[in-house]
Amino acid sequence: MAPIKEWFGLYNVIFGWFESKYGSKALEEYYRYLAENCFDDVIEKFRIHGLQGIKDYYEHTFDIDQGEYDSEMLEDEFLFTVKKCPDYQFMLSSENQYFKPMKNYCKHHEIINSVICENSGHCFRMLECDGKGECRWSFRRGGASNDGT
């Protein structure tokens, strides 16, 4: 199977349909379902390899999707800064009016990453997000974030 970039737009169409039909809470429930049911291999990788596994996974994912990022491994935290989000890069370059990123498109990253991390013994925080394709993520060991949230 060779993926096609139009599928970024299809994510946006599906998320938009969900929210317009059932509301934002239902959309978040759907994201949690995906995180619980579609990422078993990723959770296992994070559980076994810890922060290094998380670093390897996101760097690989953004490399194959042709995104741009900075990553920084600290003693007990991994920081991942998205400089060019591949989803936004594609959707904003498309002439399809329905590929205009929905408001809160980035919410799926926050919820799915959080669930995957919780299930692998880590915690995730979205430190910054401009809603336009630039954001900064934090991953730590343990089940609670550093500020106790």
Partner: protein, 151 residues
């Protein structure tokens, strides 16, 4: 989410919607995708008719070529025909050990729900035949055809 996980996500999206909201909701999602995502096919069929379908599905720049499907596309005597010998989506789901969506609707149904309404808007009929095994599971093979609708 990466597009490399898209087919797995797509398959589980169908399962989630069918189970929680029912078949009508899933058909509604497919109708929305048909309208909002299949815009390239719509433009081609509107401008070129059957030749547009051939361009959309056939050739290395077509959708199936880019997805690395094993297929055959023909346009002869004003009849478009497509044959899928190895659907890349079904292949990937099996390779990754995923249960292919198969309830009252199936994973493979989404193609006919997405594409038929598009060509029908331009006075073409389209038939889609999906191959299932003895257990009713998608085999990854199908054929579809289209011609100008007779008035």
């Amino acid at each position: 989410m990466t597009v490399h996980d898209f087919i797995v996500i797509y398959n589980d999206t169908f399962k989630f919607i069918y189970k929680k909201y029912g078949p009508e909701a899933l058909r509604d999602l497919w109708a929305t995708i048909s309208l909002q995502w299949c815009t390239h096919l719509r433009e081609l069929v509107k401008a070129k008719g059957l030749e547009g379908m051939k361009e959309y599905w056939g050739g290395n720049d077509g959708t199936l070529g880019r997805e690395k499907a094993v297929y055959n596309i023909t346009l002869k005597d004003e009849v478009f025909q497509g044959r899928m010998f190895e659907c890349p989506s079904i292949g990937e789901l099996r390779e990754r050990g995923r249960d292919v969506f198969n309830e009252g609707l199936t994973y493979c149904d989404h193609c006919r729900f997405l594409y038929c309404p598009v060509v029908e808007d331009y006075s073409f009929s389209m038939s889609w035949f999906i191959d299932y095994d003895e257990s009713g599971r998608c085999t990854g093979k199908c054929r579809w055809s289209s011609k100008k609708r007779s008035n």
